[in-house]
Symmetry: C2
Subunit: 240 residues, 2 copies
DNA sequence: GTGTTAGATTGATAATTATCAAACCGCGAA
DNA sequence: TTCGCGGTTTGATAATTATCAATCTAACAC
């Protein structure tokens, strides 16, 4: 079920690298990898949490819905696990997931996961670290939503994408704007206008291409610090 | 430093009850309890995370600030721990904390905490459960902010407070309205108007007293499910 | 009792954000 | 190449939410 070729991709993950080899093998014995095309629904909020998902290749969007509305809660990039919190609490997923690009995903049965971290102390510590990091990401997301207006959120997002790509001044948006808008908690129209309104503050937009013309000025506007913006990534990480 | 009388209050906490007695003792050896008056700042976002806090008595508000603005991120009620995620990641607190009422708090050094869960597997599992629950609470909070308007958030909050007190139709708001407003991500003025606008939908407000006159109608408005509203409490739990 | 004060409410207004409809653009399929 | 289509942009407008200032109220000290 599980291609041995996938193992080397997964092993170095922070979540798995500290655990013992036998335990890793035991866990992966019950896992299976699968390739999904872009745009496929992987799981739905409310479903029982049966599998920890590990994204090896591709890109996945976690989103939440209510009534007709929908909002993206996180973008998962390889290699990372997602949906771990639901597996642990044995409660239904709080978010849905779909592929944004063709993706290879390893599915680890939640029961095995729980059994193994009870036996392997190093793995338990890794799970703790993973969850603590995820929690803090979600706190940052909520803080940003509550303390910044949409224009500031957009500016912060651009700055972070730039940093993520090694402080390059010019880069391509890695996602459709409508998804970025949803992640930032605004409509596409609002994002579009916000982007234009930021031009005097040091950004140049041309389709998907972004050029930060004045990082200092943009940074001042954002008033960002590491208590609001994750130094490691623009979109909140993994977990539930 | 630590009053022995406090131990029985803390021991039954989900976080501590599974750990071995010797480990519990070891942990508490390094802990100390303290009583703080209402309105006192306990810690500030950005501070190094030195202590896990356990609220034994009283009430604590976790909040975040940026520039001049400020928003309530969680209300902690006894007996519960808070600020655990920051202790684990060894990074600065993302939130500040202050007492809302006179509070007795046990401070557990982060270093001891980390040392002990590396040794005590049962404790590690408890920490995992705590973090997973906290993460999910924050996801719910963010979902509510992004998928509901302020009126719906208010309605959901009232319904949840009612449920929390055993589905009593009448109850007292356990907090000042301005704090509830901040938790819900709106201004006090907005909350005030939202509360009045909900009267036709089955709520009666008189100062701090709330009477849910038509739970069915209010519930329909909220469109709440357990994927949005925590069955266990109105305000997101603990952690960071 | 009176005065004081912090919080709550109300009204008027402004700022922000969403909605709706139309036009536009880039890109792959035919 | 042209067509079709999803995504984006733009404009007009509406809804939501914030801000500011002025009461109002309840709690409490004196």
């Amino acid at each position: 079920m599980m291609r041995p070729a996938d193992l080397p991709d997964i092993r170095p993950l922070p979540l798995f690298r500290a655990m013992s080899e036998p335990h890793f093998r035991a866990l992966m014995n019950h896992a299976h990898a699968q390739v999904f095309p872009a745009g496929l629904d992987l799981l739905q909020q409310g479903d029982p949490a049966d599998f920890l998902h590990v994204l090896v290749e591709g890109r996945v969007e976690l989103f939440a819905t209510r009534g007709g509305r929908q909002t993206t809660m996180a973008i998962v990039e390889p290699v990372a696990s997602f949906i771990i919190a639901a597996c642990i609490t044995d409660e239904p997923y709080l978010m849905s997931a779909r592929t944004v690009a063709r993706s290879r995903i390893v599915l680890v049965p939640a029961q095995e996961l729980k059994a193994v971290f009870r036996q392997d102390a190093a793995f338990a510590v890794s799970v703790i670290d993973e969850l603590a990091g995820s929690y803090r990401s979600m706190v940052r997301h909520a803080k940003s939503l509550k303390l910044r207006n949409s224009r500031e959120r957009v500016a912060a997002c651009l700055l972070q994408l730039s940093r993520q790509q090694g402080d390059r001044q010019g880069f391509l948006l890695p996602l459709e704007k409508r998804r970025i808008a949803s992640w930032l908690g605004m409509t596409p129209e609002n994002l579009s206008r916000a982007l234009k309104s930021l031009e005097p503050d040091g950004v140049k937009i041309d389709g998907r291409r972004v050029i930060i013309t004045d990082p200092g000025r943009l940074g001042a506007l954002v008033g960002g610090d590491r208590l609001l913006d994750d130094p490691c990534g623009a979109w909140s990480p993994p977990a539930t």
